[in-house]
């Protein structure tokens, strides 16, 4: 009896937002873990194996989840910033990544040999290209005051065609040990390189928030742009900046994607990832209308999406059908997270508590 009350109390505090914004993503991860433990505990086994190049590398479902969610996690970081500052989402990230990836490959193929210098130059160019396209979107949003989704619809429509034009209509391949290392493993390190890149990106953004006032300014602009302006904040610049940061994330994601496959396919590279990235932001508990944000929530959101996908694969669901099941889980998550449901739940719990107290009093009286 006593335990029971205590338990209900804990659940209540979680629902009340004891963990704040991260309540829903953490519940989601917990549910997925429990589900997989019941279904097949070996799902979580991690082992070492040697790959084609003879490196000893980590292997297992968890590793492949974290590895394959890398592009999504990187994009989710940038998407969170844009969402917070502009109160809308960029739906052109997949197309922009295809452009950045094409620029990356274009430089790699320009020389006869692919050295470290070439790769760095190619990456820098990809970043610059993606930042220019980010600035284009950002200008439409910040200067012309167009809703982000509409503004980025333009690049969404024609972005992959621009990539097609850069590639000259082909799907060029690149083969180089460096690219392979970026896409899979660096010899001697058992952790997949994309995972390392994500960690580097997270650290970079943490440092950015630590050493600049970007977080406060972005939130102010997102919540009340007019007041932010009268407090001396250059709102246009902050919005533009968020799109440029997203541009960097897009370039990183595009380059990881290209390196993984060793080729650029403008039609399929990071296809439909914009939807997943927005979803990651939402699952992370961020308000899609802008304002307060937590990058960690979005990153968790990205891993939740990937964990769900891999779980479904492990259950032998065909890859084309995964979307349908994913949709059901998303709906369940957002329903649990909806303010109306939370309120109803709280009211229910309070009533339950009151009844319990009453019965306890009665029982006490009897005793």
């Amino acid at each position: 009896m006593k335990d029971n009350t205590k338990k209900s109390f804990d659940i209540k505090s979680i629902f009340r937002g004891g963990l704040g914004q991260l309540t829903i993503p953490i519940i989601a991860i917990a549910l997925l873990v429990i589900f997989n433990l019941i279904r097949d505990p070996s799902f979580f086994s991690i082992g070492f194996s040697s790959n084609n190049e003879g490196n000893t590398v980590l292997e297992g479902n968890l590793i492949s989840i974290i590895n394959s969610a890398s592009e999504l996690a990187v994009l989710a970081i940038g998407m969170t910033l844009v969402t917070a500052a502009c109160g809308g989402q960029d739906i052109s990230v997949g197309a922009a990544a295809a452009i950045a990836g094409s620029a990356f490959v274009k430089v790699l193929k320009s020389g006869s040999e692919i050295g470290a210098g070439t790769v760095i130059a190619a990456f820098v160019l990809a970043c610059v290209v993606a930042m220019i396209f980010g600035a284009f979107n950002g200008t439409l949003v910040a200067v012309f005051k167009i809703q982000p989704m509409i503004a980025t619809l333009i690049l969404y429509t024609c972005g992959r065609s621009i990539a097609y034009w850069i590639n000259g209509g082909a799907t060029p391949t690149v083969s180089s040990p460096i690219i392979t290392a970026i896409g899979s493993f660096i010899p001697g390190i058992p952790v997949p390189t994309p995972v390392i890149i994500v960690i580097v990106m997270i650290v970079l953004f943490k440092l950015l928030f630590r050493f600049t006032s970007l977080e406060l300014l972005t939130q102010s602009v997102g919540i009340n742009g007019s007041a932010a302006r009268l407090n001396g904040i250059n709102t246009t610049f902050i919005k533009l900046l968020s799109f440029i940061f997203l541009g960097i994330c897009v370039a990183v994601a595009g380059c990881i994607g290209v390196s993984r496959l060793g080729l650029i396919n403008h039609e399929t590279l990071l296809l439909d990832i914009e939807m997943d990235a927005i979803l990651a932001v939402a699952i992370g508990g961020n308000n899609l209308g802008g304002g307060r944000f937590k990058i960690s929530g979005s990153i968790l959101g990205a891993y939740i999406i990937q964990m769900l996908t891999i779980t479904l694969y492990a259950m032998k669901v065909p890859s084309t059908d995964v979307k349908a099941y994913k949709a059901i889980v998303i709906v369940i998550l957002v329903v649990i997270g909806s303010p109306v449901v939370k309120q109803k739940f709280n009211r229910f719990m309070t009533q339950l508590q009151m009844k319990k107290n009453q019965t306890a009093v009665k029982e006490g009286g009897k005793a």
Binding site: L140, W165, A324, V334
Partner: protein, 343 residues
């Protein structure tokens, strides 16, 4: 205040944006007739545009309603695709035409009701709900069948082949045979829907209430409008129209395919925007949307007719045109805002 004898009321935002679109469409089509000639001189060109895009027009109408109410629905293309596949399979397994129509309406309604309820009554962000709806419909389409399915149903194929022929709108081919103007049944459905939605939005209570909740939700509530029910209704109508669109799509192609109507949601959003609907809500008109769809599809035809056959030209011109319209709207509305402040 001056007397308003013979005073003409300035256009509302909705009317202004719609007028711009219609003018641009007419100008564009006129230029195509002068410079490209060819097919553009025949009425059949318009019929072809309508034949190919009847379902897009229907979906855009639904989306316009939702957008006027301040929402968004990105599941429309996927629902269209799911409807096509379901109806094809139903017909091939011995279903009747009447049953298949009911099935199409049912699927559309079901999506509309569920999504509308989640958005209106549980107050979940429409983008996420309809994104989930899109994933579900796309996924379920492939669960039904990964392979393309052709309709094998005699009565339906007969219906499908039925075309409305209007002789006086036809033209005489080079070899002297008279080819009448041909229009598919789906076009009639689409045009009827445009008219019905237009009447609903302009002359019926729920229609005006869509504008009210899109204009200012809190105010709408204070004015005594049942905001939740009105928003719910907008999604239900949009879902229903997606179902109808699916049926029209099937009448046009006669086959179901998992990739049917891919990207249709974005085309529909683009059509609505070109037609003068604002994503912020409260401004838009379905007549504008109709011309928006026509503008969008005509430009693609013009690109092909100009000899730019590479597929990427089409999407780049579309993107460019979208950019033009979006900037135009932004400039027009902000100039208006300034004028208002100054006065």
């Amino acid at each position: 205040m001056k007397k308003n004898n013979g005073f003409r009321e300035p256009l509302t935002d909705t009317q202004l944006l719609m007028t711009i679109t219609i003018c641009i469409f007419i100008a564009m089509y006129g230029l195509a007739m002068i410079f490209l000639q060819g097919g553009f001189l025949h009425v059949q060109q318009v019929f072809d545009l309508l034949n190919d895009n009847a379902s897009l027009i229907i979906v855009s109408c639904g989306l316009t309603i939702v957008m006027i109410g301040g929402g968004i629905d990105i599941s429309v293309g996927a629902v269209t695709s799911l409807t096509v596949m379901s109806c094809v399979l139903y017909l091939n397994n011995g279903g009747s035409i009447f049953g298949s129509i009911l099935l199409a309406l049912g699927i559309g309604l079901a999506f509309g009701i569920i999504q509308g309820a989640l958005i209106s009554y549980l107050e979940i962000q429409p983008f996420i709900v309809t994104l989930a709806g899109m994933f579900f419909a796309r996924g379920f389409t492939t669960i039904l069948s990964v392979n393309p399915q052709k309709v094998d149903h005699e009565a339906f194929n007969k219906l499908r082949e039925t075309k409305i022929e209007i002789d006086w709108l036809g033209y005489t081919a080079k070899n002297g045979t008279r080819i009448p103007g041909r229009m598919e049944l789906g076009v009639i459905v689409a045009l009827v829907i445009v008219v019905l939605v237009f009447i609903l939005l302009q002359y019926f209570k729920p229609g005006r209430e869509f504008y009210a909740i899109g204009g200012n939700q809190t105010s709408a509530l204070m004015l005594g409008i049942n905001v939740k029910r009105t928003r719910f209704l907008s999604y239900v109508i949009c879902g229903l129209l997606s179902g109808i669109s699916g049926y029209v799509f099937m009448m046009h192609t006669g086959a179901g395919n998992a990739t049917n109507a891919a990207g249709m949601e974005m085309n529909a959003i683009a059509s609505s925007i070109i037609g003068g609907t604002l994503l912020t809500g409260g401004v838009g008109n379905v007549a504008g949307t109709f011309f928006g769809t026509m503008t969008l599809t005509t430009i693609k035809k013009i690109v092909v007719a100009s000899g730019l056959n590479d597929p990427w030209w089409q999407s780049i011109t579309t993107g460019g045109m979208l950019c033009f319209f979006i900037l135009l709207q932004s400039v027009v509305l902000s100039r208006r805002e300034k004028k208002k402040k100054a006065s």
